[in-house]
């Protein structure tokens, strides 16, 4: 009877398309909005995504998220290096400095100062130049998107000329020479990212008593990362997190203190409700239109369980097609805007989540229809 169920469903073209459109819309809206939400939230810890080598981030205990820098004394670095289980530890400067542009405007940049000796924490992908070029005098590496847009030179006719190797910048009244262009994970604030050495970064930065933002440490082979974190905290009184823990802490901060989750939550809920309303209503109408056929099947000996299976199959097919189209459309949307400012991620967990949401919509739609068909008296077939 599966084929009969499928043909009944697809035979009513208008309603079939109506149900599919409803589910596609719901699936698209849920997946797309959640994709943007995940993409946006992933940007909150974008700086950490690019810094994958160190196992441990050491910071002031009051730090709430990655951009909430509370500087440490330089001596902290040596204390961390002296703790059992720490293979190496390097300093990281992270701060927002103003770059003066050719046209006189100022642009805030996210400056990362890397350990002078090892350059650990450097950009993940170099587009032009080498990381080792940072050892040259006044050298900085600029991220490609920033170089093309916010740090680009503007000609008199308004056209933008991207920053290129050899160009100079003024960072907090200090001359800096671009020696490379890189690709970085986009950050939440979307400011240009500028890499330089730690010692140079602290000269760029405004005078402060303490300038060390984080200490990045690697755990010795065989050591448990969490155990080493606990040792660092016990020994220095500072907070020490694994990269994942610090990402979660940052993520949670934005979840708690920004309106992003509720805004996206509303959009996702709207997609779910509208999808349920359209698909559910159309599916129910489809069942009502076929009620006399279901009645005839019942009279001819089809039991309730057989009819329930038929309706569930119809719901599953519409769900699968609607989900596929919706997720496909969301993926095309994300792919077509991959080079834009749009934050969009489509992890497998999201695909499962939106599948579950569409399944729930189908289940609710099917249940209303099932209730009607199960209660249906087969004697209806003799009522002309």
């Amino acid at each position: 009877m599966n084929r009969v169920a499928i043909k009944m469903l697809m035979g009513d073209r208008a309603k079939y398309i109506g149900i599919i459109v409803g589910l596609t819309f719901a699936s698209l809206l849920i997946t797309q909005q959640m994709g943007i939400f995940i993409g946006l939230m992933a940007r909150t810890y974008g700086a950490m995504t690019d810094l994958s080598l160190p196992d441990v981030w050491v910071m002031d205990p009051k730090v709430q998220f990655v951009d909430d820098v509370k500087p440490l004394q330089d001596t902290v670095l040596y204390r961390v290096r002296g703790i059992d289980g720490v293979e190496w530890a390097v300093p990281l400067y992270k701060g927002l400095l103003k770059a003066r542009l050719d046209n006189g405007n100022f642009q805030t940049c996210n400056v990362l100062g890397l350990d002078d000796a090892t350059l650990i924490g450097g950009p993940p992908i170099m587009v032009e130049g080498k990381i080792s070029d940072l050892r040259r005098s006044e050298a900085v590496i600029v991220d490609q998107v920033g170089a093309k847009d916010k740090l680009a030179k503007t000609l008199e006719d308004g056209t933008k000329v991207p920053l290129k190797i050899g160009d100079t910048l003024e960072l907090n009244d200090h001359r800096a020479v671009v020696v490379g262009l890189c690709k970085v994970t986009r950050t939440f604030q979307s400011q240009p990212v500028v890499y330089t050495t730690y010692s140079r970064a602290v000269t760029f930065a405004p005078r402060e008593r303490k300038l060390l933002s984080f200490v990045l440490a690697k755990v010795s082979p065989g050591e448990n990362v969490k155990t080493v974190c606990a040792r660092i905290t016990a020994s220095t009184g500072l907070a020490a997190y694994t990269r994942e823990e610090f990402q979660i802490k940052t993520f949670q901060y934005f979840m708690k203190y920004t309106g992003i989750p509720i805004n996206f939550g509303i959009a996702v809920a709207l997609g779910f409700i509208v999808g349920t309303a359209i698909a559910g209503q159309t599916f129910y109408n489809f069942t009502l239109d076929n009620l006399k056929h279901f009645g005839a099947l019942k009279a001819m000996g089809a039991g309730n369980w057989l009819l329930v299976r038929m309706i569930m199959l119809q719901a599953a097919i519409t769900g699968a097609v609607g989900y596929g189209l919706g997720v496909g459309a969301a993926a095309v949307f994300g792919y077509s805007l991959k080079d834009s400012e749009l934050a969009f991620k489509l992890p497998w967990q999201l695909l499962i989540g939106s599948a579950a949401a569409v399944m729930l919509i189908c289940l609710m739609s099917a249940l209303v229809s099932i209730r009607t068909v199960v209660r249906l008296e087969p004697a209806i077939v003799f009522k002309g």
Binding site: V4, G11, H293, M300, L306, E377, A379, V381, K383
Partner: protein
Amino acid sequence: MTALETQLAVTCRGVVKTYGGEGNRVYALRGIDLEVRTGELMMLVGPSGCGKTTLISVIAGILDQDEGTCEVFGKDLLHLKARAKTRFRGENVGFVFQQFNLIPSLSAAENVAVPLLINGVGRGEAAARAVEMLKRVGLGDRIKSLPRQMSGGQQQRVAIARALVHGPKMIVCDEPTSALDHETGHRVMELLREVALGEGRALVIVTHDSRIFEFGDRIAKMDDGRIVKVVESAEQLEH
């Protein structure tokens, strides 16, 4: 008549059926006694609202009576569990409806195969038997046609093929000719007598179409929930 043919297909005794609750109770059947023999075409006739459809629904096992017994091939359907009753219907009763009730998106052969599929027959065998049955009702050339591509008479022949394909012992028809013109109605009745009324099968037809009374072996006239007369020819009905 042979011994098999004189066997009773349906025995109703004191069947009462009411609709509505206290205060607005309506009697649809008021103590029906009726016997239908195998190999017999029994017609239930009478004015609208006389209880014909209710009686045929009780006989077919799709409606439970309030009082009395109705045995179909020796089974008291009222006391069968729902699942057993459904299975009994699937195996022993064929239905022909006034509006044909063919599924519009299925071809003639697919529609005819439905009762077999419900009874668990494999798709291949069901399709072959459906085609065979369509040939028996003269629609061998319309196997792949959709209902909308066929005339009313052809659709009713498909419905008859569907009612017969699984070899039920009883066929119940509700106004099988009312949606057809006189000539087509006659041909459908000839077909029902020729194809359906064999092999010890019983036919119960509800109709108020006096033009087809001549096809009945017996005619039970109903009025106000009662059988007022059972005769053997349309002429006797007049007296």
